[in-house]
């Protein structure tokens, strides 16, 4: 089992979700995050003084997948999120030790379905 963490542009969320549903990946957690890459973000100005914080809004997705679905998930996220511009984001793949469905107690691959 793997945990796929994807950081994407905020406005690409709808497209990414659509692509994931096409691949029958229906388990997903989403939250808003702040971050930047090598371009170091954009600094804001308040009453004439620049602030040092320079983080941009991004969306983070966490998707637990069985190994068989890993390739399709990565491709789906990439299809939905890619614009070709700087700031498209990253996908991280982590080894997932276990997964438990709380309602029924199923573990392992069955819990991901």
């Amino acid at each position: 089992m793997k945990m796929v963490i994807a950081i994407i542009q905020a406005h690409r969320l709808d497209d990414v979700k659509k692509e994931l549903y096409k691949e029958e990946v229906n388990l997903i957690t989403v939250n808003e995050v702040l971050g930047h890459g090598r371009q170091m973000g954009v600094s804001e100005v308040y009453r004439g003084v620049k602030e040092n914080g320079n983080l941009l809004r991004k969306i983070r997705l966490e998707i637990a997948v069985n190994d068989a679905f890993l390739e399709r998930t990565i491709k789906a996220v990439t299809r939905g999120a890619r614009t070709g511009e700087v700031g498209d984001g990253k996908i991280f793949v982590l080894e997932l030790q276990d997964c438990i469905r709380i309602r029924t107690g199923e573990t392992g691959g069955a819990a991901i379905g």
């Binding site: 804001e44 100005v45 308040y46 009453r47 004439g48 003084v49 620049k50 602030e51 914080g53």
Partner: protein, 462 residues
């Protein structure tokens, strides 16, 4: 880099000089009811008080203005400042403004009004009107010949409320609530009341000297602005403030506050005419004009300096314009109002964007940078642009052939600065001895809302 600003400052000064012909040739209508609050140039024989008869138009307008000025403190100033602090401290700001309204409202009717406007001469107005004894519904002609005395009193109450509330902007996010309460009561009694007496009270020495302050440039803005500087320096910088701005948590709140302040300011300035008259209209018009000029000027300054105009900039600029026009509102015409508005944005922008970071003091919400500096410019500008054609009960300023007025304004400004500075320092020390001014460091980090009020403003997890 500084060449850019030197150029801007020069351009603004040239604008002022170019506007002179327009100012001098402007034909503004004179007032029909000169308000008694406005001072005539010092005369050996005081002008005879007009017949004291209640005018319903005047009374309605001043009643409305009183409510408008109340709005300026809560929610106007409360949200203007509230949006500028961090999420964890927003309630402390709202609380301070709200409680100020309660506390000073009571202080005023119990003894504040008597100290500020009572008939005694000298340092204070005396205790004759304690508990509003003797303050009835017939007009008190020395202040306002056409409205009930109690109306004048309650109108002034709202000014007394908002002045200490302005200082909140300097010590935001790090003052103990108990210290704030004690400080506010002492400051209002020992700084606001005397200065109000000197500038507006019958027998007040600055009034008798001929100082012009239509609605509170000296009494409100310079007074509070200097106190703000003192408290900011005494309390020290906020934790984490190292010459970098702490971003506002809710700029929409600040814009709401700025809009409410602009709206309420019509009562602040135009209501100070104490009549529904040509003078009230004149004050209304220049108030709006100065605010508009200043808001736009700040936006343009930012556009040049930072590449983009900001919402916070327009809001700040508009408020600065309102501050600056306050002492001048019943004495100047519309072209000077534009000049006053543009210049205050230039001066305050330089103050807030360059001088403050360079010196490094933490006037959290620019109470000194906008209200103090803006008030000083406004009071001096009154000495430049005042015209008897606008208000015969006032004076002419430097640009109208009377350089003496500018000196009088300068003196009044200097006295107010000196007194406010020394007294505020003393009060700070006294309060520090009794309850301690600043919160503990870990309380400051956790936020005043939770530590001073056991309240959270926004639920994160429900």
């Amino acid at each position: 880099m500084f060449r850019k600003y030197f150029v801007m400052l020069s351009l603004a000064s040239i604008l002022t000089l170019l506007a002179l012909p327009a100012i001098i040739s402007a034909d503004d209508t004179a007032v029909t009811n000169p308000p008694a609050q406005v001072v005539a140039v010092a005369a050996a024989v005081p002008a005879p008080a007009p017949a004291a008869k209640i005018d319903s138009g005047d009374t309605s307008w001043v009643l409305t203005s009183t409510a408008l000025v109340m709005l300026m403190t809560l929610p106007g100033l409360a949200f203007f400042y509230g949006g500028l602090v961090r999420k964890k401290n927003v309630l402390s700001i709202l609380m301070q403004c709200g409680v100020m309204l309660c506390v000073i409202s009571l202080q005023w009717v119990l003894f504040g009004y008597s100290l500020a406007f009572g008939p005694a001469k000298g340092f204070w107005g005396g205790l004759q009107w304690i508990g509003l004894s003797g303050v009835g519904f017939a007009p008190y002609p020395d202040y306002s010949p056409t409205i009930p005395h109690q109306l004048f009193m309650i109108f002034q109450a709202m000014f007394a409320v908002i002045t200490p509330a302005l200082i909140v902007g300097a010590f935001a996010e790090r003052m103990k609530f108990s210290a704030f309460l004690l400080f506010s009561i002492l400051w209002s009694t020992f700084v606001y009341c005397p200065v109000a007496h000197w500038v507006w009270g019958v027998g007040g020495f600055l009034r008798d000297m001929g100082a012009l302050d239509f609605a509170g440039g000296t009494v409100v803005h310079i007074n509070a602005g200097i106190a703000a500087l003192v408290t900011a320096l005494v309390l020290g910088k906020r934790k984490g403030y190292e010459n970098q701005p702490i971003p506002p948590h809710n700029i929409p709140f600040t814009v709401i506050g700025a809009g409410l302040l602009w709206f309420g300011w019509f009562g602040f300035n135009s209501g100070s005419a104490l009549s529904a008259s040509g003078l009230a209209v004149s004050a209304f018009v220049v108030t709006n004009t100065a605010a508009a000029a200043a808001g736009l000027a700040w936006a343009l300054l930012e556009w040049v300096h930072n590449g983009k105009p900001t919402t916070l900039g327009v809001a700040t600029g508009a408020v600065a314009g309102l501050v600056a026009i306050t002492p001048a509102s019943g004495f100047v015409g519309v072209i000077p109002a534009i000049v006053i508005g543009i210049m205050v944005s230039v001066i305050c922008f330089i103050m807030v964007a360059f001088v403050k970071p360079k010196i490094g003091y933490d006037d959290s919400l620019d109470a000194f940078g906008v209200h103090g500096i803006g008030g000083i410019w406004g009071a001096l500008a009154t000495g430049l642009f005042a015209s008897k054609a606008i208000n015969p009960a006032g004076s002419d300023g430097l640009f109208f052939g009377n350089p003496a007025q500018f000196l009088v304004q300068l003196k009044a400004v200097a006295v107010t600065i000196a007194y406010s500075l020394v007294m505020t320092l003393i009060i700070c020390k006294v309060v520090d001895l009794i309850v301690g001014l600043r919160v503990k460091e870990k309380d400051e980090i956790m936020g005043l809302d939770l530590t001073q009020h056991r309240e959270g403003a926004y639920t994160v997890l429900e």
